[in-house]
Symmetry: C2
Subunit: 427 residues, 2 copies
Amino acid sequence: MSWLPIAADSPFSIANIPFGIISTESDKTHRPAIAIGDHALDLKAFAARGGFKPSKTITESEDVFSQTTLNSFAHLGQSFHREVREYLQSIFRDDTPHPQVLKDNESLRESALLPLSGVTNHMPMAIGDYTDFYASTNHAYNVGVLFRGPENALQPNYKHLPVAYHGRASSVVVSGTPIRRPWGQILRDPKAEPKVPALAPCERLDLELEMGMFVCRPNDLGKPVPVDEAEQHIFGYVLMNDWSARDIQAWEYVPLGPFTSKNLGTSISPWVVLADAAIPKTTGLPNENELLPYLKEKKTANFLDIHLEVDLITASGNKKTITKTNSKNLLWSWPQMIAHHTITGCNLQPGDLFGSGTISGSEPGTEGCLLEQTKGGKATVTVADGEERKFLKDGDSIVIRGWAGEDGARIGFGEVSGMIEAALPLF
Amino acid sequence: MSWLPIAADSPFSIANIPFGIISTESDKTHRPAIAIGDHALDLKAFAARGGFKPSKTITESEDVFSQTTLNSFAHLGQSFHREVREYLQSIFRDDTPHPQVLKDNESLRESALLPLSGVTNHMPMAIGDYTDFYASTNHAYNVGVLFRGPENALQPNYKHLPVAYHGRASSVVVSGTPIRRPWGQILRDPKAEPKVPALAPCERLDLELEMGMFVCRPNDLGKPVPVDEAEQHIFGYVLMNDWSARDIQAWEYVPLGPFTSKNLGTSISPWVVLADAAIPKTTGLPNENELLPYLKEKKTANFLDIHLEVDLITASGNKKTITKTNSKNLLWSWPQMIAHHTITGCNLQPGDLFGSGTISGSEPGTEGCLLEQTKGGKATVTVADGEERKFLKDGDSIVIRGWAGEDGARIGFGEVSGMIEAALPLF
């Protein structure tokens, strides 16, 4: 289908065309690119050398491809994203109508079509605000049991509104960034009285498998977004690992929610899969409640159908896929999250990031965090060669992968990875 | 003391020199200014016309005064802020060593020294992240009683760590911006079963009297800020009104904290009083706990001593000062909040905003929100002419003022105001 050789199982098929920000050894400037097969197409170089010339619409706004983030590109809206994505697909097709642009242009191929192994990825967006939802019923129930017991596991509001909290935007980092084990306040014995916390490096460091969504279209303060228009506010999706210090979280989270336990870092995959890429959709988790009108979508089956996997790799190189699940394990769709986020008038901005919350299936081995898999540290996860884990140890790496679609037309995210570094001495 | 006439009770005495962002009818460009008496000194015009020429240090970096926010100025650090503030004080002193700069320069006075009544204020900083603390024990106890009863009013962690949650940065607005009454999910009868919320305009709209603090010095992800160095990360302070939809909050806030109930708008005063302005300091609220080392300050009495007042003004013009209190009513100082915010490694950035949480004294009439004053809507606050309030009605305005120091040398904030607009029809 493409004149560029692309492996059948590549996440970056010609059906995908995800956008990111790259730099190279020879040019440290951060600049937009797409991923295709084993290559990145440097859009700054491509635009500068007339790559978009056949499209007047795109060339008129091609300065967005010389920015250091994708925010300006995102802000141009979905019809522009579709124009660019479809144009780039046409350029890479075997039967491209514009062979002179790249296929038969060795000089531009050499300067703009770069092996992925030679590019460094950076944060794709400057994030204004980051909001983390809690939309997987299975996860919310499992964690609720551990934190508050089975009777209060799901709060009465849970199936009426997409529960969420504001996260920390500054500590969102791109895949590959090491994560430092944090110090924090820990109440080691919750039953002892009086309750006196210790200051110590986190003893229950965990991952959280999530999907992330970036906003493209803004709304004004005071103007809620109708749920059936919300999809137009979506720029695209990434994989996310919302690292969590469980012991710090359990002590600090009442009454205002998680705070320092989530500030240590949140990792995202570098390539934003656009809303325009036709990720298959399906139904989400059941909700027996009659929804309030602002959350009722005309579309049913509006949940992304993405296969997700989590690998745990220890410092000694042992590796296990600890989670296999699917992004459809959510009670609320992205449009529902947008509608709820804005119902009181909150203004969203291009570059805002939403997290789905930890995605868990209902079977063993489908849970999106160690807290659930080890039932709060009571069980262990076997890695290999006798190595076991309750929570993450120094030197452990977590790699999350996700993809939809068949071989040859995969719409994949690549991966989001991060390694745990030992705590530093405090001051 | 100054050649410029300044009223003795002006919040903007020569001892103050607060910084903000202004525009004028004739020049819509957002640009930095200081407030002094009834005037603003346009720093962009002042710098362009050589106003900083006597100071080599300042002229070398004076491009920060042609930016549209104070972030670049803040980023230059406290020693630079001191240099600029002291230089500007010297320019306005009767015995200024540089009379030719402004005092005797009628042309520059006319172009750069503008009546405050003729300038429009804008957001002083581009806010990266906004974190709202909960540092006034009196408020936390009063609200805790209403939400969870007297036994669980203060959670076990409350006096061990500065409780906080991430707020929404995009909906922070400058004084004078109207606040739209939000729609949201409300559980009208919390005792009925099953619990089924309604979608309605907020019926319990409230103010929250807070102090805000802007960060100037960044810290790297993974590097906590020692409490005794934390003061150097403070750019300055503003007054804040963190508007709150109490009915929406009560239903949504478990288990992850307030979300849409706080997204409708947070108002700040336009002039940032620099950390360098010597606001008097005193002791805060008592804490019988032994603090963990990272929260122990060498300085005691590190709490700002600022007199605070709240006026409620109805649509018919009736007005009452409903709150008189002091910013010292906090359990945690700003350096302690910074030390705790970063203990797990969270990176702060220039322009980040911290809120103190609602500031309440312990006596009637000192509480910083209506929820407390009306005991959750059971009592009423009398305004005048038979007008009473449990919560805010459409057309009500809230004006918060704050100042420290004696007449003639007041360090004041001016005010932060906002009027409630009626809810719009939903879609």
